[in-house]
Symmetry: C2
Subunit: 243 residues, 2 copies
DNA sequence: CGGAATGTTGATATGCCTCAACTAAAGTGG
DNA sequence: CCACTTTAGTTGAGGCATATCAACATTCCG
């Protein structure tokens, strides 16, 4: 497994330009790591975290809990992502962060990131940009969940996950890991379990994709993109993948 | 009308602590202002803006355009807001920004904000925090539009608008400006115009609120909060309003 | 091998959409 | 200032997508 800082650096370099001194400063960041089982909470709504998380392995998610008890997943995070860079300047967390899968994360103290910031502004800007891309992904989720029928919504979501997995360098050709149950899928796109089940079957029948054993298989990228109206511009990567 | 920088300062102080030197540096930011008619675009999807916007007067919104031509509004912005602080580190805009109403905005060059940042990091952090709160509002919109029935969705949206108007000091007692047509409301919460019309009538009938002439009247805040499951924590204000 | 979690399927209900007609309000030009 | 036009909002009928409830099948896992 690569060193935690290299995972983060790779991710930041996907959208930002970093000089040698920046890389060095990032490599010097202190951290601890933590292993998680599926469904473990990393931080809970209302917590006041003093560290930020970098995902080293596995899948991690942010979520809200509705009064009814239903969960709404807000975003998924894979190797390289910083699911709560946001907490750097937000005292009290307005959402929870949990492991979807068996995962491993690095925890970097806020103080160290702030110090990095003073010392190497460019490195700080890269992390800021990371949070802004995060926000762009949220915007896209608003549109996706509010404006498209269920099949298209799922298609868009799958496109995004596959594209991001490729960008982070952890996709196999034509497939990537996506260990979500159909219940959880429903809590991502805002639909009930039976509806997800049926929509997934319809998607499978078209032959453009499949999801089984926690693995997403994309058989016909073009048609998925077409159906989901997926345009990766909002991910703001410097060298967009060809697919 | 107050000076543009004071409007921004007031807004930043709602969530951040700024020293005298920070305030002075913010006051020294160069800017131009621009008047807009309802529906004018400030920046369009795909643009590469070199300035950031501060709303001085009126209402401004961000939006996506779907393939069908339908618009999805992502957020509303009122006096004091920076609807595209995001663009500071994002080259190509993934959404448009338009005036909902007759509005006036100040444009601050990115370069000046970056310079502020080097000179007075605390002021830069305040703007960063502003973008993070923005992201928290997006998260809430995902949950609202994906997880609640239409009436509750509208109630939540109204609560947020009223609460933010109060926080920015531009609400009258029990009411604030909200110059959205029902079509636009539908494009905010992801619903059709007739459905919005009926849901609004139902809300009016309960007596808890009213919306006419571009003015939102909140008659029963408690019940609105209850119906919309509104909890202002996600707005991350230092001294939450009492309502 | 047995039990729990996950996924499938069917029946029924319903919230919201679409289409369409109509009404009301708000600008606009003579 | 009124007639005209345009835009915004209301209402109704009918249909469809998705929710809910419930039974059953399957897979996973200890």
């Amino acid at each position: 497994m690569p060193h935690p800082h290299d995972i983060l650096i790779r991710k930041l370099q996907a959208h930002s330009d970093l000089g040698g001194a920046d890389l060095k400063a990032i490599r010097a960041l202190p951290h601890t790591s933590r292993s998680l089982s599926a469904n473990d909470d990393i931080v809970r709504q209302g917590d006041r975290p003093t560290t930020s998380v970098v995902v080293l392995h596995g899948v991690v998610a942010r979520y809200h809990t509705l009064r009814s008890g239903r969960r709404q997943y807000l975003s998924l995070h894979i190797t390289g992502d910083m699911p709560d860079a946001q907490t750097l300047f937000i005292e009290r967390l307005d959402h929870g962060v949990c492991a979807i899968d068996k995962s491993e994360v690095a925890l970097i103290p806020h103080a160290a990131i702030l110090a990095l910031f003073q010392e190497r502004p460019a490195a700080g800007f890269a992390i800021w940009r990371e949070t802004l891309i995060d926000a762009a992904i949220f915007r896209e989720a608003i549109t996706n969940n509010s404006g498209r029928p269920l099949q298209a919504r799922l298609a868009h979501f799958f496109c995004e996950q596959y594209y991001r997995a490729r960008a982070n360098g952890i996709a196999k050709p034509g497939s990537c890991r996506l260990p979500l149950s159909q219940t959880q899928l429903g809590e991502v796109v805002g639909a009930s379990l039976p509806s997800v089940s049926r929509a997934l079957q319809a998607l499978r029948r078209t032959g453009m994709m499949d999801l089984r054993g926690g693995q997403l298989h994309v058989h016909d990228w073009r048609r998925m993109v077409e159906l989901g109206e997926f345009d990766p511009g909002y991910l703001h990567l410097r060298r967009p993948s060809r697919l």
